[in-house]
Amino acid sequence: MAGYALRRVATTIPVLFAILTLVFLMRPLVPGDPVAIMFFGRSSSPEVVANMRHQLGLDDPLPIQYVRYLGDVLRGDLGTSITTRQPVVQEIAERFPATLQLALGSLAVSCLVGLVAGILAAVYKDTAIDTAAMVFAMAGLSMPGFWFGLVMIYFFSVRLGWFSVIPDGSLKSLVLPALTLGLIASSVVARLVRSAMLEVLGQDFIRTARAKGLRERRVLLRHALGNAMIPVVTIIGLQFGGLLSGAFIIEAVFAWHGIGELAVDALGKRDFPLIQGIVLVIATSYVLVNLLVDLLYAVLDPRITYS
């Protein structure tokens, strides 16, 4: 187990370096002069442009820029935002808690709704309940998050007046965005829980448990669900990445001041150090969450020996 964990961590390091490299390459890959693009083609005095190029280190050869970039990032320096003049790390740190809050809230919603719908669908397979749950899952898969969010605002804020349209950062204002993102994400969880449950329910130990005379509730919750959770944990980990990026859209809908909003702003202003920083941070957290999930997987599933 310890050996597996160590190897799994070891395989993550080259991936993180590759991500770092791709993020670094974003700027050289931009067609045209990056500094000119930052000025939106508006003419600036040549000194300003030259100064900017020098400041950003763009007048050095690419390999030197790369080594410098690696060194900076490893020391925790992601550069300076062009528009706000603030360190990128600080900009992201200010917004990250809001996005994390939204992602965790949605994760809670998606797990709760997805588990209940998936279990019900599996237990009542081929009944109206199963059909309803799968229609719900299909609808969730096809739902544009921004429209769903606007519908939620229209219904709960405009018509019913339960929530204010502008979030104030309170826990209450988290409800609508988390529901929007969580309900959409729950469709994937529901489908997966259903198929995992069906697979487990067909196995011998379930028949044994029933034959022993255990109550159905205990068979389902203790014997079946416990085993069905193993693949579900993986998907929930992958979901987290989806939630982080889904937050980009939902934040725009609900005026939620998180990383997503920061990213959309930065993209509009072509603030490259900030964009690169955000992509790096989100991709890295995604990889780390998946690493965590894989390690958890090994703990959860005693059948697999990772020798």
Binding site: V15, M138, F146, L150, Y154, G242, F272, V279, A283
Partner: protein, 297 residues
């Protein structure tokens, strides 16, 4: 697995033994999901082709009716904040929707198939190199990858289509490579080699036709996903720009009028939802008929 669960998995085997396009279509459209999805897709395609005939007004003409009017007989989907006919705009928008799905998927399939076949066929260091690269791309959440590529290329509908395609090619590369690994061991591939066929010839004539099923299935499921991603990118201002009648872009200005004219949000939103749902239903059935191995993807 219960017997009921394996039953649908047997169908494709039957569909495959009766080769030909007609039995395949029969198997596909004997299912209600596919009928429903197919009908909507047909309407969408017809709307896109005959847009000038169907739409009662020029989609860009201002003040063809009152401003922000809810649906009426003259304007079945109502009018927008500039008095344009929303029905005509939705009809013309269907062209963009089809274009987005087609081009994004074409980019993803083209690149994915190329990388997947080359990696699977040659194996060794070529395979290792290409697949490690693919893995790194997969390490990015899909939407973030598309966003990063738009950041590089710059905003706009064309770039969004390329970005969405590039963002989803790793999935294709993985699936194609997996299939190629089995196909390249087949005797007809060895036969091709013995007869002196060049590797590109073998890849094109012997391998590609035999890995088509998973590609088609994945492409049909990627299409609706691409439409959703592109609409979302337009919604945050990176894709189609106003006055384009792209459905995601229609929602941008509409947000301001959420209190006074909710139909401006609901009509394009519902259009995206229904079309994506239809493509998903169609893709799901296609997967069941063509390639049950992809069931759990």
């Amino acid at each position: 697995m219960s017997a009921a669960l394996t039953a649908p998995a047997l169908l494709p085997a039957r569909a495959k033994t009766r080769t030909g396009f007609r039995p395949f279509l029969a198997a596909l459209f004997s299912r209600r999901q596919a009928q429903l999805g197919g009908a909507v897709v047909l309407v969408l395609v017809l709307a896109a082709i005959f847009a000038p005939l169907i739409s009662p007004y020029d989609p860009f003409e201002l003040r063809v009716g009152p401003l922000k009017e809810p649906p009426t007989r003259a304007h079945p989907f109502g009018t927008d904040d500039l008095g344009r006919d929303l029905f005509s705009r939705i009809v013309y928008g269907s062209r963009i929707t089809l274009q987005i799905g087609t081009i994004s998927v074409a980019v993803a399939v083209g690149l994915g198939v190329l990388v997947g076949i080359v990696a699977g066929f040659y194996g060794g260091w070529v395979d290792a190199l290409l697949m490690r690269f693919t893995d790194v791309m997969l390490a990015f959440p899909g939407f973030l990858l598309a966003l990063a590529i738009v950041a590089i290329l710059g905003p706009g509908l064309n770039n969004v289509m390329i970005a969405v395609g590039l963002g989803s090619f790793p999935g294709f590369a993985r699936v194609v490579r997996g299939s190629v690994l089995t196909v390249r061991e087949m005797e007809y591939v060895t036969a091709g080699r013995v007869l002196g066929a060049t590797p590109p010839h073998i890849m094109r004539r012997a391998i590609l036709p035999n890995v088509l099923a998973p590609i088609i299935v994945l492409a049909s499921l990627e299409f609706p996903a691409a439409v959703l991603t592109a609409a979302a990118l337009s919604f945050i201002g990176l894709g189609a720009q106003p006055p384009s009648p792209e459905w995601g872009a229609l929602l941008v200005d509409a947000r301001t009028y959420i209190r006074t004219a909710p139909h401006l949000i609901n009509v394009p939103g519902a259009a995206i939802f229904v079309v994506v749902l239809a493509f998903n239903l169609l893709g799901n059935t296609l997967r069941d008929v063509l390639d049950p191995r992809l069931r759990h993807r």
